[in-house]
Amino acid sequence: MNIPNSSTAPAAGEYAGDEVSAIVLDPGYWTTRAGFAGEDVPKSVCPSFYGQRDTESDTQHYFGENAIHNPLGDLDIKNYWGSDGIVEDWDTATKLWEYAITNRLTGTKATDPTRNGLNDGTNTNGDAMEVDIDALDNQEKPLEESPLLVTEPGWNSAKAREKYIEIAMEDWGTPAFFLQKTGVLAAFASGKASGIIIDVGASHTSVTPVLDGMVLRKGVQKSPLAGNFVSNQIRHIFKQSAPEIPLTPHYLVKSKTQVDAGAAAQATYKTFTTPPTDSFRLNEEERVLTEFKESVVEVWPGPGRFSNGTNEEIAKNTPGRPFEMPDGWNQVFGAERFRAAEGLFDASAALTSESSPRPKDDQTIPKLVQAAVLSVDADQRPLLLGNIVVTGGSTLLYKFNERLNYEINNIYPSTRNKLIAPGSVVERKYAAWIGGSILASLGSFHQLWISKKEYEEHGASIVEKRCR
């Protein structure tokens, strides 16, 4: 008798696992996740924000958690994603992804610093680079030995998809490549081949109907009501409260003293010779807001909307939650903590200002789900509603799932709707990566890779045909 443990090989046919040291890359707006297929969690999680410093001769990029939170003067914090949820800044994206992969996984190869893509800003001409790299020994490319699986948003454009494979093949020299949608992979991570995947990330909320491991493209819905929207709502709450709640990020505070709830902060602040840029401050504020989301913000769990009158009264009678800013200011947040995320479900409850107008009704999550279900064949609807996979960092908001459950049952009272939300934080945040990790470590997946040879034969358009 053989009791399986970590050092015994699984029995043949037990599962179709057959790892080929593939790397899975899951770029998101908030973080970019990378790791070896077959592992449970991405080894490398690096912020998708990067620092950029322009000197007269050169543009320098700073990647990684440590670099972007370092208050250097004139460090601009940027993100390579466009507002439409498609990668915009391809050059930096390539570099950041390469950083995410090489930093923790493969290790950097000793390459010519001008060519490894990390430091160059001079050689932006694609053609010249291609020639350059072809001339070099293949060993110098970072991914020469690892097949690469990259995730993409469900609404990715055909052009963007081709760009992915070009980067992987030309710049990184990967022997095999595949592109898969985050929705499908998140479903796989929960062991589902069909379902509706609700992904509430940082920049976008997406609802993706998936059938037998394939996205139903007509049903894919996205809206900007996600983590960043909630952050924005919190800013509104801070601003509209009287007196205004000051939002001071960590890097400004040298030391703090304890003050009473609601009292003005008494802290000593740091001084900078060259003050950090606005974008740097915004990003640092975002960190505080994320803390606030984690510990204070609560979603009204239903029944009914928060703003229907009676619910607000009920909420007032619940005990509040305290929060302390980095500078020591603190307060207990009562019913207002419900308002930050209410806009995700009820557009009319969103806090508005000139710069952030009222969101459209059909951008709310219930409406997205409704639209997604409606664009699916009637026969498949009950199946999909029975497998609603919830993923993305913002779904970790307290009571988010209760509310989502209420809303969906409210729209579809006659079907058996089931939410599948992994309990652990890691699985919720990195579901797409985990699904990719599963997929890329399957023996049956070997035949699906797009090999370098195929890419050379058919060109970049092969992704359209193979990664459906």
Binding site: M1, A9, A12, A16, D18, E19, V20, S21, E145, P147, P175, A176, L211, D212, M214, L216, R217, K218, G219, V376, D377, A378, D379, Q380, R381, P382, N410, Y412, P413, S414, T415, G443, S444, H446, Q447, W449, S451, K452, K453, E454, E457, R468
Partner: protein, 611 residues
């Protein structure tokens, strides 16, 4: 779980196995090392106390682990490059495999092809484990001529048809996805679709199509199925199709897009019902369920009640439903049963014997042992075990003679497990009350029947049961007699003078009875008969009414006549009534013996039975 000890105990073997067993349990202990136990396991072990654990599971796992440690040095693994045979591009990937050793003879199980791994040039494996997952779908194919001849459609261009078929192939007949991705652009399609061929232009030229029609799943399916059906018919004429092919063909031709569309509309309407409608339906459904449950319960209760009221309904044939009455034998039995019921009812009303005496029919059931038995089982399970001796209705294959010869017995219902004949005999000796048991014991002793009957076969058991039944009745009669005697004595004392003539007449009758009855006593009962005679003598002054009560059986008579004899009554009801039923024809003598001694009325009855 039965251990060897239990088995030994059951078989009455000496507990000699004890010593080796203890040794077995002790041996692995030092090997596993009591000192080695750590952590929680140690505490668990402490709970066992001094004694060794009852099950040696722990030791087993211990020894397993010890073995595992000795499997030799760690096996080496290496990244083995391999090729997947389904891939046409010869992509080489690397996966982790056990490194094969240099000595080929040591491990004959190792794949022979792997031996050349030590060569300088890297060996590339072919891994076809997952080739089975490379599945291609079957698609209808047709030539241009075929298309022109059969497949033309006003609504579909050749180009779009090709596109459709390609899509169906690409998405492996997943229609929801085909429809989702379906995006046909007639004019632009030239460049993007490789498989469009020359006649596209011609088809386009001949027929002007509306650009990019919006097609529903049903449209796509209808077109595709139509093509498939037509081609199928072309390849295999309808008459030559086998059943399976024809059913496929039928399915293809019978596809009705309009109906499908309506169905889907209904389905989505069902899904889009409002909360109120759903609630209402839910309410109705629960209501229905509630009603159903109540109805079921009511049925069950009624059934139970019926079963209780109508003891003969216990007949398994009845409970098995109508199917049980398909054979003529069963029908016969049913008829007799109904007949008996009818009769007993008539008797109950006409004979003035009072209500609730259905069991009166026991005497009449001489010829329907089946129903009698059912009655018996309903009334007294305990005694039913002793009922083998009763002649069974030959339901199955054997005639009674054969049954007897082969010692086969059929049973309506078997209790599980094994019972011993001697147990049954022992049980029969016991009545519900101690007094009664003692009385029976004394009576048996009087008859000279030993406490242990040597070979308790079922026949012996039957006979013994008959005897005990008779004894029971005898005891009843004795009891009644004693009561009556007492009464008579009282009355006598009261009206000493006036009653003398009556006593004379009664005593005259007595010898008559004896003459009549004596030949009927069984040969084995010769002693008992003598004894009965003694009793009978003493009972000379019985009245007619008493006789009636007793023949009606049941010991009910006792209750009426002897109201203070309460404990005896219960026992009488349970033991005497069924035992009469079991004894049936064979016990006629018994009836007579007990009855006849009282008066002429009983004589008449026994005569009727004999007829």
């Amino acid at each position: 779980m039965a251990t060897g000890r239990d088995v030994r105990d059951m078989l009455g073997l000496p507990m000699g196995g004890e010593a080796p067993k203890a040794a077995v349990q002790k041996r692995p202990k030092p090997a596993g090392g009591t000192r080695k136990i750590q952590g929680v396991a140690r505490e668990v072990a402490a709970l066992y106390g001094e004694r060794p654990p009852p099950v040696a599971v722990y030791e087993e796992s211990k020894s397993y682990r010890a073995k595992r440690q000795n499997t030799g040095p760690a096996k080496k693994w290496e990244q083995q490059p391999f090729r997947n045979p389904v891939r046409s591009d010869g992509l080489i990937l690397r996966h982790w495999k056990r490194k094969h050793t240099t000595a080929p003879a040591v491990q004959p199980s190792e794949d022979a092809t792997m031996q050349d791994g030590e060569n300088t040039e890297p060996y590339i494996d072919t891994c076809s484990d997952y080739a089975k997952y490379d599945i291609k779908v079957d698609l209808p194919t047709f030539t241009d001529d075929e298309y022109d001849a059969y497949l033309r459609s006003d609504d579909w261009s050749r180009e779009e048809t090709d596109y459709l078929i390609q899509m169906v192939g690409d998405y492996a007949y997943r229609w929801a996805i085909v429809w989702d991705r379906y995006d046909f652009q007639p004019s632009l399609a030239h460049e993007t679709l490789e498989n469009t061929n020359g006649d596209t232009d011609q088809a386009l030229a001949t027929m002007p199509f509306a650009p990019s029609k919006k097609r529903s799943v049903e449209d796509l399916k209808a077109r595709f199925y139509d093509i498939s059906a037509k081609l199928m018919k072309q390849r295999i004429p309808e008459v030559q199709m086998d059943a399976e092919q024809y059913s496929t063909y039928e399915m293809l031709t019978k596809f009705d897009p309009v109906m499908e569309r309506n169905r889907k509309m209904l389905a989505s309407a069902l899904m889009n019902r409002s909360m109120d409608e759903v609630k209402e339906e839910e309410f109705l459904l629960t209501e229905l369920q509630r009603i159903n449950m109540a109805a079921n319960r009511l049925d069950a209760e009624r059934e139970e009640l019926r079963a209780r009221l109508d003891a003969p309904q216990h007949n398994p044939a009845v409970s098995a439903g109508l199917q049980a009455f398909t054979s003529s034998q069963a029908l016969q039995a049913l008829f007799q049963q109904l007949f008996q019921q009818d009769r007993s009812k008539k008797r109950a009303s006409g004979g003035g014997t009072g209500p609730g005496r259905l069991s009166l029919s026991a005497n009449d059931m001489v010829h329907t042992p089946g129903s009698a038995q059912a009655q018996l089982s309903a009334a007294n399970r305990r005694q039913s075990m002793a009922s083998q001796a009763v002649a069974q209705t030959p339901v199955k294959h054997l005639s009674p003679r054969q049954e007897e010869r082969f010692n086969v017995s059929t049973h309506d219902r078997l209790t599980s497990g094994v019972t011993f004949g001697s147990d049954k005999l022992l049980k029969m000796r016991q009545a519900k009350s101690n007094v009664q048991t003692q009385k029976i014991g004394a009576a048996l002793a009087e008859l000279g029947i030993p406490d242990v009957i040597p070979i308790p076969t079922s026949k012996v058991g039957g006979t013994f049961e008959m005897l005990v039944t008779k004894l029971g009745k005898l005891l009843d009669v004795r009891k009644v007699r004693e009561k009556e005697e007492g009464e008579v004595r009282v009355l006598q004392n009261m009206k000493d003078g006036t009653k003398e003539e009556k006593m004379d007449t009664e005593t005259k009758e007595e010898p008559e009875d004896e003459n009549d009855d004596n030949p009927n006593y069984g040969e084995d009962d010769a002693d008992a008969a003598g004894e009965d005679e003694d009793d009978d003598d003493a009972e000379g002054e019985e009245e007619d009414g008493d006789e009636d009560q007793d023949t009606n059986g049941d010991g009910d008579g006792d209750g009426d006549v002897v109201p203070d004899d309460l404990d005896a009554e219960g026992e009488d009801e349970s033991s005497v009534q069924p035992s009469r039923a079991t004894s049936q024809g064979a016990t006629t003598a018994g009836h007579k013996r007990s009855a006849s001694v009282f008066s002429q009325g009983s004589e008449e009855r026994s005569k009727r039975i004999r007829k």
